[in-house]
C-alpha cells in the first residue's frame, strides 16, 4: 500500500483533436493543439518548476518560476501560458533560466516562515519542493525586512501580519504562509463557482481575502475544500492533517452522500482516516468535492455509534446487549414464529440506498428466497420511484440517459424541482462552469434557488410555479413547442411512434394547455413560459435535470413522463449534451433500484410476473419465487396497522423520520411484533425496534455504489468495521440463521452473481471496475466498457412513447384553515435525515431546521425573523423557528427535514403519486402561527425517544 500520487500537469487538458509536435529538451512531444508548453513537458515527463499553476484551474502566469526558452523567440516566456506550437524547440533548463528561478525563489522564501519541521505541510509542500528543485541554498535578503511572517518586529506590531483564521471547522487559513499564487481564488471561481475568495490590495500588500476581509466562516465560502486542495503551501490546511500528520497510504473510494457519487482518495495513516481528497480521475466529480464528502466523515467514528447487537422484548424496555449469535438466532426464531402464526407474507424487508449494491442485493435475496415473499422495498419509494416508472414507460429504461460530462456540451439547461447547489453540489459546480461559458438556464421551481441568480450565473427564465402544478407547466411548454411548430419532426419520425406523437400533439395543442390558460392555477407568467419553451426548443443541445420537486407529488410519475415528452419532441435524446437527467438523492438509490429492491421487480427491472426471469433465480437459489408483487413501504405500514404484517428487517433507512405522516409510520411500527433495525446509530425508527444490529460505514467495507448517471463505482475498505462486520456479512449470517446456505467470501462474488443473472450487468466484475475505474450500465457484450449515453440509435423500448399528461390538481388543497403551501427540501451542509451530518461539524452551518416564510405572510401573522412558529396541517403540527425571506413567494413556505426534533414529517400527509405511492412531500396545505415553543407531540416524542434509547448497564461477568 502506498499513497496514490496524481500527476499535476499544471494546466487543464486541451479538448482539441488536432495534434501538433514540438521538441522539448531534445524530446519530440505530440500533444493536442492548445496544450500549454508546461503540460506538454509534463506529458513527456519533464517537470518544469511551478508554483501558481495546477491543472484544476486555468493558467495564470504569476509566479515567474515556470519560465522557458524557445529557440528563435526573445525572452523567457512562462510555460503555463504559452501554447505549444508545431515545430517549436523548447529548453526548460538553461543557465539563464536557472538564475532567474533561483532569484524568484529567494524572494519568495525571504517572506516565508522557516518552520518547515513543525509545519503541517512538511512532506507535502510545493514551495519546499521548488526550493529544492531550483537549488536554493541561500537567501541574500535576510528575513528582517518588510514581511508578512512575524507578528512583531523589534517589539513593534507588524501591520502586515495577520493571525491565523481557524473559524472554519475543517481547515485553517494562515496568511503568514501565503505566497499569493491565487490558486485558491481561482479554484473557488473556476472549480467551485462560488467566488467567495479574492485578492485584496496590490503589490506586496496583496492578500487572499474571504469575502470582504472576513473570516472564512462569515464569508460566502461553502467549504467545498477546492481552495485547500489547490493551496501549494500550508496556508490552507485541513485541521485533520494539522492534528494527525501526513497520510502514508490511500485508496480510491466513493462518497456515501448524494447521488453524484464523487470519487475520493481516502488518505490514511494506519487505520486512521487523515483526509478525503477528491480524485481527479473520478468521472463523476473530476477532482471536485463538497463540504459533505470532503469533510463530513466524522460520524464514522462518532461515540453514538452502536457497536454491539441488542434486543428487547418490548419497545418500552431498555436495550440489552447480546452476542451476534444470540441476535441472529432471536431474529430467525421471531421471523419464523411470525410466519407460522400470521402467514408467509407477514414479514418483509427494506434495503438501504446508503449501502452497497452487494448488500442491497443480499437483503432482497433474503426476502425473496429466505422469507419466501416479495415484501421488499427501498427508500427510492419516497424519492425517485416515479422516475423509474415514468422513464420505463416512455423510454424503456428506469434511469437517466447521460453521464455528468455531458453537461459540458449542453447549450440550454432546464432545471425543474431540483436545487443542485444544495442537493448535488459537485454537479452544480460543473453546471455553473458550463453556464459561465454561455449555456442558457431555465429554472422551474417555486423557490428562487441559488442558481436563479448567483455570481456570474443568471437564469434566462425562472418560472416560480405554485407547488403541485408541474404537469400543467411542463405540458404547457410542450403546447408552445407544438403549436409554434418548434418540434423536431425528423427525430420524432425516426425515433418515436408517429401515431402516438400525433395523438399527443393534438392533446397538448388544445387551448386549455396554453400558458395563458394555466396561468391562473400555476401562477407562472405566460410570456415567461413561452420564452422558456422557445429557448429550450431552439437553443441547441437541451438537457433537463430534475429532482424530488418533480417526483414527490401526486402526479410525480406524470411529470416524469411530461419531461420525457419534452425531451423527445425537441429531439434532445441520444447524444452528448442533451437528455433527461434525474438527480438522485442518495448515494446508491440508483443501485438499490437496479438490484431488485422494488417489490414488483427482480434485479435489472424485470417484473416478478415474468416466468423466464424468475426461472433464472429459482434455479440459482434453489427456491420457487412467488410470482406476485409484494408490499411497498406505505402498504406494509397499512398492513401492519391492519394486523397482517408483523415483522420487518430494515437495513440503513430511517422510515420514522424520512417517511411522510410520522404518526401513521409510528402506528405501523408499533403494531409489529419484530422490528429489526440494522444501522450505525439508534435512529428514530429504532425507537420502535425489538432488535438492533450494528451497521458499518462505507469506509469499512468493499463493494460498489451506482450513482445518478448509472455509474458503478468501487467502494473500498480502508479500516476494519468498528462493529466487527460489514453489513453484507451481517445479512449473510442472518440468512444462515434462517437456514439459507450462503457462502459469499467477498462482495465481488455477490457482484458476480448479479452479472450472471442480470443482462444489463453481464459484463460487470470487480476486476473490470478495478481496471477501468468505473463503468455505466448497461455493461455487457454489446457495451463491454459500459454505456455513457443511452438511447443513441433507438430507445431501449424500441420507439419512444409519447404519453398524454393531463394536469390533475392534488387533493391536498389550501383553504381557509390551511391557506399556505408547505414544500420541503435540503440544505448544502446537511444530508437527508441528518443521521450522519448532524454528527459532524457541519452543524456549524445548520443547527436547526427553519421555516422560510415570505415577509407578507409573516407580517399578517405577526411573525418576526427567528420567532418560534407553529405549523399545522391536516396530519399534525410541529414547531420551529421562522426565517423571513423573499426566496419563497407569498403563499408558499419551505423547510428542511434534517433534524428529528423538527418532525417535519408529522405535518406531511399520506397523499402519494398515483403510480408508485411516492409520497407527496412537496405539497402540504398548512397554517402558520406564533408559538411559545415545542408542540405537545414534540415533547412526547422526545420523551419516548429518550426512554427507548436506554441501554441496560452490562453487569461484569462473575467468572
Amino acid at each position: 500500500m502506498s499513497l496514490i500520487e496524481e500527476i499535476d500537469y499544471g494546466t487543464p487538458k486541451s479538448p482539441s483533436e488536432k495534434m501538433i509536435t514540438l521538441t522539448i529538451d531534445g524530446n519530440e512531444v505530440t500533444v493536442p493543439e492548445g496544450t500549454s508548453i508546461m503540460r506538454a513537458s509534463m506529458e513527456a515527463g519533464i517537470k518544469v518548476p511551478k508554483l501558481c499553476a495546477t491543472d484544476m484551474v486555468d493558467a495564470f502566469g504569476s509566479c515567474r518560476l515556470c519560465l522557458i526558452e524557445i529557440e528563435g523567440r526573445n525572452g523567457t516566456p512562462a510555460s503555463c501560458t504559452t501554447p505549444a506550437m508545431e515545430g517549436l524547440v523548447v529548453h526548460t533548463q538553461t543557465q539563464r533560466l536557472k538564475n532567474i528561478r533561483k532569484g524568484v525563489m529567494e524572494l519568495y522564501i525571504s517572506d516565508h516562515p522557516l518552520d518547515c519541521l513543525t509545519c503541517a505541510a512538511n512532506g507535502d509542500c510545493e514551495l519546499q519542493d521548488m526550493a529544492g528543485a531550483v537549488g536554493l541554498r541561500d537567501v541574500r535578503y535576510g528575513y528582517e525586512g518588510d514581511n508578512h511572517v512575524f507578528a512583531k518586529a523589534h517589539d513593534v506590531a507588524n501591520d502586515r501580519w495577520m493571525p491565523k483564521d481557524d473559524s472554519n471547522p475543517y481547515f485553517t487559513y494562515d496568511p503568514a504562509k501565503c505566497i499569493v499564487c491565487s490558486r485558491c481564488v481561482r479554484a473557488c471561481e473556476e472549480v467551485q463557482g462560488t467566488f467567495a475568495l479574492t485578492i485584496e490590495g496590490r503589490g506586496f500588500s496583496s492578500r487572499v481575502s474571504p469575502g470582504m476581509h472576513e473570516n472564512f466562516i462569515d464569508s460566502e465560502c461553502v467549504s467545498c475544500g477546492a481552495c485547500v486542495q489547490a493551496c501549494p503551501t500550508a496556508t490552507l490546511t485541513e485541521k485533520s492533517v494539522i492534528e494527525i500528520g501526513q497520510p502514508e497510504h490511500s485508496k480510491v473510494t466513493t462518497c456515501a452522500y448524494c447521488g453524484v457519487g464523487c470519487s475520493f482518495k481516502a488518505e490514511m495513516r494506519g487505520e486512521e482516516l487523515v483526509r478525503m481528497v477528491p480524485w481527479k480521475d473520478g468521472k463523476a466529480n473530476r477532482g471536485h468535492s463538497c463540504v459533505k464528502g470532503r469533510f463530513a466523515y466524522g460520524y464514522s467514528t462518532h461515540k453514538d455509534r452502536i457497536l454491539n447487537p441488542m434486543i428487547r422484548e418490548k419497545i418500552s424496555d431498555p436495550w440489552r446487549e447480546v452476542s451476534w449469535e444470540e441476535a441472529y438466532k432471536h431474529v430467525a426464531n421471531e421471523f419464523r414464529r411470525i410466519q407460522y402464526q400470521y402467514g408467509r407474507n407477514s414479514i418483509g424487508g427494506i434495503t438501504s440506498s446508503r449501502c452497497t449494491n452487494e448488500e442491497t442485493y443480499l437483503v432482497q435475496k433474503l426476502v425473496r428466497a429466505g422469507f419466501g415473499n416479495n415484501n421488499v422495498d427501498t427508500c427510492a419509494r419516497v424519492c425517485h420511484s416515479p422516475t423509474g416508472y415514468g422513464l420505463k414507460q416512455t423510454f424503456g429504461t428506469s434511469a437517466g440517459t447521460q453521464d455528468f460530462d455531458s453537461v459540458e456540451h449542453t447549450d440550454v439547461v432546464m432545471i425543474i424541482g431540483a436545487n443542485p447547489t444544495d442537493g448535488h453540489p459537485v454537479f452544480a459546480s460543473r453546471l455553473k462552469k458550463r453556464l459561465r461559458k454561455g449555456a442558457k438556464l431555465i429554472v422551474v421551481d417555486p423557490r428562487r434557488i441559488d442558481l436563479v441568480r448567483s455570481p456570474h450565473v443568471e437564469a434566462a427564465q425562472h418560472l416560480p410555479l405554485r407547488p403541485g402544478t408541474n404537469v400543467a407547466v411542463v405540458t404547457s411548454m410542450a403546447h408552445v413547442i407544438v403549436t409554434e411548430g418548434l418540434f423536431n419532426e425528423k427525430f420524432i419520425r425516426e425515433r418515436c411512434d408517429w401515431d402516438e406523437f400525433q395523438d399527443w400533439a393534438a392533446f397538448v395543442s388544445s387551448p386549455e394547455h396554453s400558458p395563458e390558460a394555466i396561468h391562473q392555477l400555476s401562477g407562472v407568467d405566460p410570456q415567461a413560459l413561452r420564452e422558456a419553451a422557445r429557448l429550450f426548443a431552439t437553443g441547441g443541445n437541451g438537457a433537463i435535470y430534475y429532482g424530488l420537486g418533480v417526483t414527490e407529488h401526486s402526479q410525480g410519475s406524470t411529470t416524469v413522463m411530461a419531461i420525457a415528452n419534452l425531451a423527445m419532441v425537441t429531439g434532445n435524446i441520444g447524444r452528448k449534451g442533451v437528455g433527461v437527467n434525474p438527480l438522485r438523492g442518495q448515494n446508491n438509490v440508483q443501485g438499490s433500484c437496479d438490484m431488485g429492491s422494488f417489490p414488483h421487480e427482480l434485479p435489472g427491472y424485470r417484473h416478478i410476473s415474468d416466468e423466464s426471469t424468475r426461472d433464472i433465480f429459482d434455479k440459482l437459489w434453489g427456491v420457487k419465487l412467488q410470482d406476485e408483487p409484494g408490499l411497498r413501504i406505505p402498504n406494509m405500514l397499512d398492513a401492519a396497522v391492519d394486523g397482517t404484517f408483523k415483522g420487518i428487517y430494515i437495513q440503513g433507512e430511517d422510515i420514522l423520520q424520512s417517511d411522510p405522516d410520522t404518526k401513521h409510520v409510528a402506528a405501523g411500527l408499533a403494531a409489529m411484533e419484530c422490528v429489526v433495525v440494522h444501522d450505525l446509530f439508534l435512529n428514530e425508527t429504532a425507537n420502535y425496534a425489538h432488535v438492533f444490529l450494528p451497521g458499518s460505514t462505507f469506509l469499512e467495507k468493499e463493494g460498489t455504489f451506482t450513482n445518478a448517471e448509472r455509474r458503478i463505482n468501487r467502494v473500498r475498505k480502508v479500516m476494519s468495521p468498528l462493529n466487527g462486520y460489514a453489513d453484507w456479512e451481517v445479512t449473510q449470517n442472518l440468512a444462515r440463521a434462517m437456514g439459507l446456505d450462503w457462502n459469499y467470501g467477498h462482495p465481488s462474488e455477490i457482484m458476480d452473481e448479479v452479472a450472471l443473472t442480470t443482462p444489463s450487468f453481464a459484463g460487470v466484475s470487480f476486476d473490470l471496475l478495478d481496471r477501468e475505474g468505473s463503468v455505466q450500465w448497461p455493461c455487457n457484450e454489446k457495451a463491454p466498457l459500459g454505456t455513457p449515453i443511452m438511447h443513441i440509435d433507438s430507445f431501449a423500448r424500441g420507439k419512444g412513447k409519447f404519453i398524454r399528461t393531463e394536469y390533475v390538481a392534488t387533493d391536498e388543497r389550501t383553504g381557509p384553515r390551511f391557506p399556505l403551501l408547505l414544500t420541503t427540501g435540503r440544505i448544502l451542509s446537511q444530508y437527508n435525515v441528518g443521521a450522519q451530518t448532524r454528527r459532524t461539524h457541519n452543524v456549524v452551518w445548520h443547527e436547526e431546521d427553519r421555516l422560510e416564510i415570505h415577509a407578507h405572510d409573516a407580517e399578517q401573522r405577526g411573525i418576526r425573523d427567528g420567532d418560534w412558529v407553529k405549523i399545522t396541517s391536516r396530519a399534525g403540527e410541529t414547531t420551529l423557528r421562522a426565517l423571513i425571506t423573499d426566496r419563497v413567494s407569498p403563499g408558499v413556505v419551505y423547510t428542511t427535514f434534517h433534524h428529528p426534533t423538527t418532525q417535519a414529517n408529522v405535518i406531511t400527509t399520506d397523499f402519494s403519486d398515483w403510480a408508485t405511492n411516492c409520497p407527496e412531500y412537496k405539497v402540504t396545505a398548512v397554517q402558520v402561527g406564533a408559538s411559545n415553543g415545542p408542540s405537545e407531540w414534540q415533547i412526547e416524542y422526545d420523551e419516548q425517544a429518550r426512554q427507548s434509547r436506554r441501554i441496560a448497564p452490562v453487569l461484569d461477568a462473575a467468572e
Partner: protein, 84 residues
C-alpha cells in the same frame, strides 16, 4: 378509525384505485380499461387486491366507474401458501 388524515386501508385503496383511473381517463379510450387493470395487477400485492375485491363485492362504493370496468381484468389473488 378514519380521521381527516389517518384513513383506513380500505379508504386508501379506493383512493389509490381512483387516482390510477384518473390518469387513465386522460389516455386514449381503448387503453384506459387495460391500463388500470394492468397497473393494479403489476403493483398491488395480493392482499391489497383481495381487499379491493371485498370492497367491490360490498357494492364498490366510491370507486370510479373506470375502476369497476377494469375490475374484470384484475387478477383475483390465488391462495397464498403458508399459514393464515
Amino acid at each position: 378509525m378514519d380521521s381527516e388524515s389517518h384513513k383506513s386501508t380500505a379508504t386508501k385503496l379506493v383512493y389509490m384505485a381512483n387516482q390510477i383511473a384518473t390518469f387513465f381517463h386522460t389516455q386514449p379510450k381503448d387503453e384506459a380499461v387495460a391500463g388500470v387493470a394492468d397497473h393494479i395487477n403489476h403493483f398491488w400485492e395480493p392482499r391489497m387486491r383481495e381487499q379491493f375485491f371485498a370492497i367491490l363485492e360490498q357494492g364498490g362504493d366510491g370507486f370510479d366507474p373506470l375502476v369497476i370496468e377494469a375490475a374484470k381484468h384484475i387478477r383475483k389473488p390465488g391462495l397464498v401458501s403458508g399459514a393464515s
